[in-house]
């Protein structure tokens, strides 16, 4: 059984469906493992936040105000909405409605950028500083890390959108788009946890 004994172009040239399926299989697992390890990164800082909060005599510390939860809820809905539009986009792609995919992805990007704008507003209006207290330390580090991930996600979506417009993907071969959407959902889900931890709890 001599599978792949013919020298085939590796990474360039024609890739058979079987090879694409194999590579996609590997890359999907690899990407999931990457998201898993990223979640550990957040979990470690969440642990630090809960530890510091538990050690503090009063929370929030004197002179610090917690962020406004109502505006935070609106911002959260913006981000969750972008998750729905991203999901719609993948649906359209699989039904070979490329136009639908493009418009829903643009909607996702706009909503993601709006979320970032909301975060900037939050940062400039909250009565806490990064170096002033452990509240500031936890809040700005965690939400900043998350905001950085959102920014990366927006860039990722823009890049894959450009690739789609250039014709790189098809309804049967689109792992790059699956990965971008999964990353976006991941960023969404992290916010579910952070919103609860900082705005509600």
């Amino acid at each position: 059984m001599a599978v792949h004994s013919e020298a085939l172009a590796y990474g360039h040239g024609v890739v058979t469906d079987e090879e694409y399926a194999e590579q996609r299989d590997l890359r999907f697992l690899g990407f999931l493992l990457f998201l898993f390890t990223d979640s550990i990164f957040f979990t470690a800082y969440i642990f630090a936040y809960l530890y510091l909060r538990n050690a503090a005599p009063v929370w929030p510390p004197i002179g610090v105000e917690r962020p406004d939860v109502n505006l935070g809820a609106v911002n959260a809905i913006v981000l969750f909405g972008s998750g729905i539009t991203a999901h719609y986009a993948m649906h359209r792609l699989k039904e070979n409605k490329l136009f639908g995919y493009i418009w829903f992805t643009i909607a996702t990007i706009i909503l993601g950028a709006a979320f970032l704008g909301g975060q900037v507003y939050e940062y400039t209006h909250i009565k806490a500083t990064w170096s002033g207290s452990t509240f500031g330390a936890s809040f700005f580090t965690l939400t900043g890390l998350h905001g950085f991930h959102v920014l990366v996600g927006v860039v990722y979506l823009i890049v894959t959108l450009a690739q789609t417009l250039a014709g790189k993907y098809s309804p049967s071969r689109h792992f790059g788009l699956t990965a971008a959407t999964l990353y976006w959902h991941f960023v969404d889900v992290i916010w579910v946890a952070l919103f609860f931890l900082f705005y509600i709890y």
Binding site: R66, L71, G81, L182, V189
Partner: protein
């Protein structure tokens, strides 16, 4: 104060809309099998939980803030 009520309303209504669409997707895709479908279902479920959080905040049931009153 006004902004708080407006924000509440937008938050609650938005949560209902987004949550509705998420639940609709979940119901459509519940039976499908496959690794990426499973991951998407998990993510959507967590997103529904997020919408529930935002809804409860919009209805003033949860959440602490200096601007809103109970």
């Amino acid at each position: 104060m006004q902004t708080a009520y407006v924000a509440d309303a937008i938050g609650a209504v938005g949560a209902i809309i987004v949550g509705f669409f998420a639940l609709r997707f979940l119901r459509k895709e519940w039976g499908l099998k496959g690794a990426d479908v499973t991951v998407t279902k998990v993510m959507l479920t967590l997103l529904v939980i997020g919408c529930a959080e935002a809804l409860l905040v919009g209805l003033r049931i949860l959440g602490q803030t200096p601007l809103s009153t109970r």
